[in-house]
């Protein structure tokens, strides 16, 4: 064993301590100091399938941002977890903000879970981007200053499909039967649908509220047939839509099936040959603009499958958040909110740029109605939809399809 004189050891120790105090910390801190971002989305249950796409999208965005140098020179440390249900979502959001030190939260698809995360974000005074929840109430009576809403709200989906249906003569004077998901999202969508029917002389002759865990729709389909409607309208969510579409095709009813809510993941799960009718969507991978195409290429390369609309929305949300942090040079909630409330414009992969509307924090953007491609014309299993023209039409203001302040009032407390 080599013996060092005590003095040498002391000198070396002092030199090390000095270097640590002066030189190393900068290096060490640069390596460990990261911007932590919390992501919650349902990975199990009836929204689990589309939630898993959301997770893939946000991870891709974080990797791309980190590869290009991070935000403000810091790497993103993304925590992404299963939100499970509204109560667990709130608990996890609380933990991410308090214990894990997340600067911002994003994610969620369930409107019920999104509502509880919004409340946690407000209590902790941290910004939360609700990426996939569509209930109007979140932007209206439940709105708060810390919550931003990225997906299109129910009213926009109803307007997008309703306009297309009106043009096909399927609204005025027609009898509608609706099947509605029995939670905040469905109730809210039904309300928007009723407003639309009322304004366009359509009659709602029956509605069934359906629990989210129902997988067999045959008793409800019998009730539809007993009511003999002109059009059947699906206000369901997640796996419910897939199951209904498959079983509707099985029963082979003559009444056309349309819907005010659909995610492309649900359409793919229903399979070609089962889906028909007119539906709304917020994004589809066939959109031809550079941002969207670059995202589709990167996603397909990394995961070997085509991205779904929830993959896209969580991806663009993290990207626009990074843009905002770089512009404001801060992760402070107040500064970020002020930045977004100036209605900064973002390229989200659509023909027109999008912005968060200052008074309700809704990401105002284009939406699309779509119909279903005949099976023999599909290039592959993902090539299922034929997008209609973007709504609103090119000349109309973007906000014309969104609920107005009077229709969906939001009072944010300072």
């Amino acid at each position: 064993m080599i013996r060092y004189p005590r003095r040498t050891l002391l000198r070396a120790g002092a030199a090390f301590a000095g270097a640590a105090a002066l030189g190393f910390p900068a290096i060490v801190r640069a390596q460990t100091e990261k911007i932590r971002i919390g992501h919650l989305t349902p990975l199990t249950g009836f929204l689990g399938v589309i939630g898993s796409y959301a997770q893939l999208g946000v991870k891709l965005a974080a990797e791309e941002i980190n590869a290009s140098g991070g935000i403000l020179g810091k790497q993103i440390d993304l925590l992404s977890e299963d939100s499970i249900n509204p109560a667990t979502a709130a608990t996890k959001a609380q933990r991410m903000l308090e214990q894990d030190g997340a600067a911002v939260l994003l994610g969620e698809i369930s409107s019920a879970s999104s509502l509880t995360i919004m409340q946690v974000a407000e209590r902790n005074k941290k910004v939360f981007f609700s990426t996939g929840a569509r209930s109007d109430a979140l932007r209206g009576k439940n709105c708060n200053k810390y919550a931003f809403h990225c997906d299109i709200p129910n009213t926009v989906m109803v307007n997008a499909v309703g306009t297309a249906l009106s043009q096909q003569g399927m609204v005025k004077g027609k009898k509608f039967f609706t099947l509605t998901a029995d939670y905040i999202f469905g109730h809210d969508l039904l309300k928007a649908a009723k407003t639309f029917f009322g304004a366009h002389d359509a009659n709602l002759i029956g509605d069934e509220l359906i629990a989210t865990d129902v997988t067999d729709f045959s008793p409800y389909l019998l009730k539809v047939r007993q009511a003999k409607p002109d059009v059947v309208c699906c206000n369901l969510a997640g796996n419910q839509v897939t199951n209904l579409v498959k079983q509707y095709a099985e029963f082979g009813f003559p009444y056309p099936l349309v819907g005010f809510n659909l995610n492309t993941g649900d359409a793919w799960a229903a399979g070609a040959g089962n889906l028909s009718g007119t539906w709304p969507t917020v994004w589809y991978h066939t959109l031809t603009n550079p941002t969207s195409q670059a995202f589709v290429a990167a996603f397909t390369k990394k995961y070997g499958k085509t991205p779904e609309n929830h993959a896209w929305i969580d991806y663009v949300t993290l990207k626009l958040l990074a843009e905002a942090i770089n512009s404001t040079k801060s992760t402070d909630s107040g500064e970020l909110i002020a930045y977004f409330e100036k209605q900064a414009q973002f390229d989200i992969g659509k023909a027109r740029k999008a912005y968060f509307r200052s008074w309700d924090h809704q990401l105002v953007q284009e939406a699309y109605p779509f119909t279903v491609k005949p099976k023999d014309q599909m290039k592959d299993q993902w090539d299922m939809l034929v997008l209609g023209d973007a709504v609103p039409a090119a000349g109309d203001p973007l906000e014309s399809i969104y609920p107005t302040k009077e229709q969906n009032p939001c009072e944010m407390k300072a």
């Binding site: 990975l43 199990t44 689990g48 399938v49 898993s52 796409y53 029995d182 069934e208 509220l209 359906i210 629990a211 865990d213 129902v214 997988t215 067999d216 045959s218 008793p219 409800y220 019998l222 009730k223 047939r225 007993q226 796996n239 897939t242 199951n243 498959k246 079983q247 095709a249 099985e250 029963f251 082979g252 009813f253 993941g265 793919w268 799960a269 229903a270 399979g271 070609a272 040959g273 089962n274 499958k305």
Partner: protein, 291 residues
């Protein structure tokens, strides 16, 4: 008219009950013979659906729906030989734990092989649409399922009641020690029963693959209803399970007719009421501890 609508729901409920029966019957059979509550039963149902979807792109739906249960039944041999067999005489908690663990492993394995996103298949065009008999409307496809279930039920009953195979199985359920004393090895019979049980579950999965979402967690979803059926019918009782499955389907249909919001709760209320009056289930064996 109102009465006819109700009757239509009752008949539709019977059809749905037939489908529940496929899953619950295997669960009950495996419990009768091996004394094991197979929590992994749903995994075989899911595998049946996935194998059916996988094969149907190559062989068509009709062939796949037949092949898939046989393929899963073969897996059942491994399941019985290497896992269940070790637990017939062990503490029941061990078999509960091991089958529960296996259910989770199977779900993740499905996720790894086929991905988290659902896979799809279609029923052939000729099976689509509805049949109207008098004032009643039926899905053509579900009528076919019902006919298949009825045939299978008769087959299983005949197998258990009228064949020498069935006599050994029934004797084995009541007095395994006597069967052993007569020089009959029960193990091959156990294997056969497990194959039959998981094969039936797989057939249920294959039948429902084109009309429900085929996703990794589908096995866990069906287990709740299957247990409700088995508990109402009485664990281990053949006819008890048959009656309970049909009853559950009908009660759900009637509940949805009158009070749609209570549709899913109704089957649990039914279970609660049955257990309150008869803790052993409708036709279950007497359990001294509870009665």
């Amino acid at each position: 008219m109102q009465f006819e609508f109700l009757l239509e729901q009752v008949v539709n409920g019977l059809v749905l009950g037939g489908y529940y029966l496929l899953i619950a019957l295997g669960l009950s059979l495996i419990f009768s013979v091996g004394g094991i509550v197979n929590l992994a039963h749903g995994a075989f149902y899911a595998l049946g659906a996935y194998i059916c979807v996988e094969l149907s792109s190559r062989l068509g739906f009709r062939a796949s729906v037949v092949i898939s249960p046989f393929a899963v039944a073969l897996l059942g041999i491994l399941f019985e030989r290497f896992i269940l067999r070790r637990f017939y005489t062990a503490d029941p908690i061990l078999s509960l734990l091991v089958t529960f663990g296996l259910a989770m492993v199977a779900e993740q394995a499905i996720r790894m092989i086929w991905g988290a996103a659902p896979v799809t298949t279609e029923i052939p065009q000729s099976f689509r649409g509805s049949v109207i008999v008098g004032d009643f409307l039926f899905s053509r496809y579900r009528l076919l399922i019902l006919a298949a279930v009825a045939a299978i039920l008769l087959g299983v009953w005949w197998l258990l009641q009228k064949t020498s195979f069935g006599r050994v199985v029934r004797a084995g359920i009541q007095r395994p020690d006597m069967v052993a004393a007569l020089g009959i090895r029960l193990q091959p019979y156990m294997t056969a029963i497990v194959m039959l049980g998981v094969g039936l579950a797989a057939l249920g999965g294959a039948f429902f693959a084109p009309i429900t979402t085929v996703h990794p967690a589908m096995g866990a979803e069906i287990m709740t209803v299957a247990f409700v059926v088995v508990v109402i019918g009485g664990l281990g009782s053949f006819w008890g399970v048959v009656i309970a499955a049909l009853l559950v389907g009908v009660v759900r249909g009637i509940a949805i007719h009158f009070e749609p919001a209570a549709g899913e709760a109704s089957i649990y209320i039914l279970m609660f009421l049955v257990l309150l009056v008869r803790p052993r289930g409708l036709l279950g064996e007497r359990i001294e501890k509870f009665e």
